[in-house]
Symmetry: C2
Subunit: 194 residues, 2 copies
């Protein structure tokens, strides 16, 4: 039992998480309502918000993400599109290279690639909260394609460097990776797509 | 039982495959010798070559790959580095979009991202037979990093488009994807890495 948390609170939290996990799996990210999760867990919706905040934060808890993706993306977007590709790579490498983050993140990747239900949940979440949000910041008519191309290189970089451990990319210093991959993301964001 | 194959041959083939799977898992791709696989399966090494060809082909059979990666890469490299990025994307999309290939390839991706042993086998194989072979075709001193950057974008593209099904990349026509991603691979192959 965690220090400073009453048994009742821990039980309630666990019940909400279990209900949310089942709802996200059955109805997907978009189709899941906080109110339905609360009903399944036998608590008031206000309690779900009290413990977990927004639906995105609840999803991050269910997927055991060590951070909220939009917490990362929001501030980066606020600085504008200029140099966003490079800032994005640098921020992501900072997170994945940080002590304690690697293992839970690899677990998320495995769960997402390993199970249809997890893949579907994550796809909806990424489409809506990450690719969708990035796309809304882009002026081009092909903003959606651009944002999902960014996602493809980001996913591939994280997978190759951290999950597969593909040398020499896995051992390259952050600056070299930022210098190599930053312009690719910037190209997808604002360049001429041919 | 498959037509035209005697029971003895099917049993021998299965025994060799089982021995190879165990050896690759225990000793990795590089550390596995055909002769050790043959001994484990209780057959002559010549029989392993007769059924499966080279070690690479044996590995492809164990990983249930529907093709040999170097069969794809070799002819592409023979045409030279000019335009290789675009040709590589086009060829890969052609394979993954072909009927009957998608499901076994997704299964390989899941096995590789889901298990440490499979990830280690595949990493070694990719480092040696794909990234290594690509790197040897590049003149730059940072050829290894360049080849693994190519691998990161390829892996990410295949994962986003085929395993996660991330829209709109998942539904984009081949020409748009080739036009968008080809220049990225070409940049990693022969461009200025910054």
């Amino acid at each position: 039992m965690k220090r400073g948390r009453r048994p009742g609170a821990a039980d309630t939290r666990a019940a909400i998480l279990a209900a949310a996990r089942a709802r996200f799996a059955a109805n997907g990210y978009t189709g899941t309502k906080i109110r339905a999760v609360a009903a399944d867990a036998g608590v008031d919706p206000a309690l779900v918000h009290y413990f977990f905040g927004t639906k995105e934060e609840l999803f991050a808890a269910v997927m055991t993400l060590p951070f909220r993706p939009t917490e990362i993306l929001g501030p980066l977007l606020d600085e504008g599109l200029d140099g966003l590709g490079e800032r994005l790579v640098r921020r992501l490498l900072g997170i994945w290279d940080a002590t304690g983050n690697r293992e839970p993140l690899v677990a998320v990747v495995r769960s997402v690639t390993g199970h249809d239900a997890a893949a579907a949940m994550m796809r909806e979440f990424v489409e809506r909260e990450i690719v969708g949000r990035l796309a809304r910041a882009l002026p081009a008519p092909d903003a959606g394609l651009r944002a999902s191309l960014v996602a493809s290189q980001v996913v591939g970089l994280l997978l190759a460097r951290y999950v597969l451990g593909l040398a020499p990319l896995a051992n390259a210093d952050q600056d070299s990776v930022v210098a190599a991959v930053g312009p690719t993301l910037q190209h997808y964001l604002t360049g001429e797509l041919g």
